[in-house]
């Protein structure tokens, strides 16, 4: 059991940080390759749902893998539409988000027979270190560091970034633009799916119909805030995690501020943070623009 309030708070921060960090790092990879995906919110939701189904059947590891798998599939759909068919980058994301808004509550009723939410049984939840610390936040931090290393310190990362900066030049030197973009989007979306899995079968232990609650978009904001750098995203995600945790504490402490107003805090902080850093960040030059050969 947790020994002190400080420790509980720290665990809260780590948990709140994790889904936003995983999703943001995934989107950084995709946008560095030039593809914007605003369907992250929907991928988190569908990932959370798939993870719960798989975990209840085959255990928590299967749940996490299901989240990754569903995310990758939705990423593949996005990659086909944007990288190969050269379609608009935003509309498929709106579609996936809308789909998730219907699919998750629909499956909650059809599959679990409950309206609005379903509690994940303990045997299907990710086991905790010392009874209350999940291993996932540390895995997420490792993923962020690894993504930074790959993007900025390896030839693969250089190729990927060149596709997002100047696809014409990348194409000229023989980099497969479409395939690089597709891989980046699939990996990025898989991380969002993992974020969803973490939320349902680990952190919250419950699947709700609004489980993502804007986190997909907070992650998009964090991508900008971090200047498309996974290490900065780590710092930013910790900051967001702190505010998220803080707002939970404000509710418990009965400060007199109504819960409903405290709920606005993460979104207000996100807006202020993004408005504060802009002008000093440098987005990948070709992010969000379909690449067509002349």
């Amino acid at each position: 059991m947790p020994e002190s309030a400080a420790l509980i708070f720290a665990v809260g921060v780590l948990n709140a940080m994790t889904p936003i960090l995983l999703t943001a790092v995934g989107e950084i990879i995709a946008e560095r390759a030039g593809v914007v995906n605003i369907g992250l919110e929907g991928i988190i939701m569908i990932g959370a749902m798939a993870a719960t189904m798989a975990a209840e059947g085959f255990g928590p590891l299967a749940g996490l893998l299901a989240g990754i798998g569903v995310g990758a599939l939705l990423g593949l759909l996005h990659a086909v539409l944007t990288a190969y068919l050269k379609g608009d980058h935003v509309i498929p994301g709106i579609g996936v988000n809308t789909l998730a808004l219907g699919l998750v509550p629909f499956m909650l009723i059809v599959y679990w027979g409950s309206a609005g939410q379903h509690t994940v049984p303990r045997y299907a939840q990710v086991p905790k270190i010392a009874g209350y610390i999940s291993p996932m936040p540390f895995i997420a931090i490792l993923i962020a560091v690894a993504a930074w290393y790959i993007l900025f310190k390896t030839p693969t990362g250089l190729k990927l970034r060149s596709v997002g900066e100047n696809p014409v030049a990348a194409d000229t030197v023989g980099i497969l633009v479409e395939r690089t973009q597709a891989v980046a989007v699939v990996v990025g979306a898989a991380l969002a799916g993992l974020a969803g899995a973490f939320m349902s079968i680990d952190w919250l232990g419950v699947l709700t119909k609004e489980i993502a609650a804007g986190r997909g978009f907070i992650a998009l904001a964090l991508v900008v805030f971090s200047n498309w750098n996974p290490l900065w995203a780590l710092g930013g995600a910790l900051l967001f995690g702190t505010f998220d945790s803080l707002s939970q504490w404000l509710k418990v402490l009965h400060t007199g501020i109504p819960d409903t107003l405290i709920n606005t805090l993460p979104y207000v902080v996100t807006l202020i943070a993004v408005a504060g850093v802009l002008g000093r960040v440098q987005p990948p030059r070709h992010a969000g623009i379909p690449y067509r050969r002349e």
Partner: protein, 384 residues
């Protein structure tokens, strides 16, 4: 069937590229609707429901009788307006997905009128209707203005800012509904709009109120603005190419501001219209349950209608029918009404496939050419 009909029209309209494009775009929307309903049917079937039964109740109750038809039009009303929010933004080169929050603020405006009318009996009258609509439009535009200023002065992308503002508006209106503006007789809803200030029903005994006329009026106004007025021309020019617009002496930032504010007014009117015009509550219900998703549905309407105000009227009626019919589908076929949102999602994804009909057209053209060549060869061999 659809393709052949589209094709014969294409033959006639080949000379006018704009008409040609419009016909192609219309065909694409029809294909997307068919794909959406088909995948929806598969999901229903896999989930153990009868797709035939579900769709029968969905459309029978929304299109095939007078009450259903009026309730379809009543649900088309808010999504037509929030669709305009997205479409006006899209014409200015924006992805304004903030209609959801702006609609909440509009509903809050109408609720403030209801609260004011408790203290000022004069407002229990058509004057109150006007005040409520103006408050709703102003609050909707106010929320949109925050996103506009963040975009213009700080460069914050509107996809992020509008979603954050949606959530802020949700919790703010939730707070006011449950803590400040609740109705003492039934705290699960806000103070209802007094009878004298309600939007009149177009047909007694239905849910179709004058807010439908407001939506149609705003749609026609938007069409006129975009294609027959200087501001609208500048707005579209900025959307097509901000740099070219700047060379022509147009300030793209002004167009962005205009698009956001106008969109906010549309969504605000949608929210105010829901509160002031929809029986039986004439109020905001707990958790904003009578408002949620009306803003997001507008995006679907705009995309199906190709961001064209006139194309969006049939698109809004389609989405209105889905929303109106989903209640009967849930009641009689036992299918959760969230089903219709799955269909919407698939429709949007299908619309995101670039130029389905261009591909089909190209395929048909090649096939025809091959046939002609084969026919010529056959002729030549006969002659020989």
């Amino acid at each position: 069937m659809t393709v052949t009909a589209g094709n014969s029209l294409l033959e006639r309209l080949r000379r006018d590229p704009r008409m040609h494009e419009a016909v192609l775009r219309f065909g694409e929307s029809i294909i997307a609707l068919v794909i959406g309903l088909t995948i929806g049917a598969v999901i229903l079937w896999v989930s153990g429901y009868s797709p035939g039964e579900a769709y029968y109740y969905l459309f029978q109750s929304s299109l095939l009788d007078t009450y259903g038809l009026t309730s379809t039009l009543s649900f088309a009303t808010p999504v037509l307006l929030t669709g305009l929010t997205f479409a006006i933004g899209a014409r200015a080169g924006l992805f304004n997905i903030g209609a959801e929050g702006q609609l909440y603020m509009g509903a809050l405006g109408a609720t403030l009128l209801a609260w004011l009318a408790m203290h000022v009996p004069l407002l229990d009258s058509p004057l109150g209707t006007l005040v409520g609509l103006l408050l709703g439009a102003a609050l909707g535009a106010g929320l949109a203005l925050i996103a506009a200023m963040l975009r213009v002065y700080r460069g914050v992308h509107e996809v992020v800012s509008t979603i954050m503002l949606n959530w802020i508006a949700y919790w703010l209106v939730y707070y006011l509904q449950s803590q400040k503006l609740y109705w003492p007789k039934d705290p699960t809803k806000s103070i209802p709009v007094p009878p004298g200030a309600r939007l009149p029903l177009l047909l007694p005994g239905t849910e179709l109120s004058a807010s439908f006329l407001i939506a149609i009026g705003f749609t026609v106004f938007t069409y006129y603005l975009l294609w027959h007025m200087v501001h609208g021309y500048e707005l579209r020019a900025s959307g097509l190419s901000p740099r070219a617009a700047r060379y022509a002496g147009i300030d793209p930032n002004r167009s962005i501001m205009l698009a956001f504010v106008l969109g906010g007014v549309a969504a605000g009117l949608a929210g105010a219209g829901e509160v002031m015009g929809r029986p039986p509550h004439y109020a905001i219900t707990s958790g904003l349950s009578n408002l949620v998703n009306m803003g997001f549905d507008g995006i679907t309407v705009a995309l199906i209608g190709a961001n064209h105000p006139l194309g969006m009227i049939p698109a809004a009626i389609f989405i209105g029918a889905l929303n109106a019919g989903s209640r009967a589908m849930q009641a009689f076929a036992g299918v959760p009404l969230e089903m219709v949102r799955i269909v919407e999602g698939v429709i949007i994804i299908a619309l995101a496939v670039p130029g389905i009909l261009h591909m089909i057209e190209e395929y048909l053209r090649r096939k025809r050419e091959l046939r002609e060549i084969a026919a010529k060869e056959a002729e030549a061999s006969q002659a020989g």
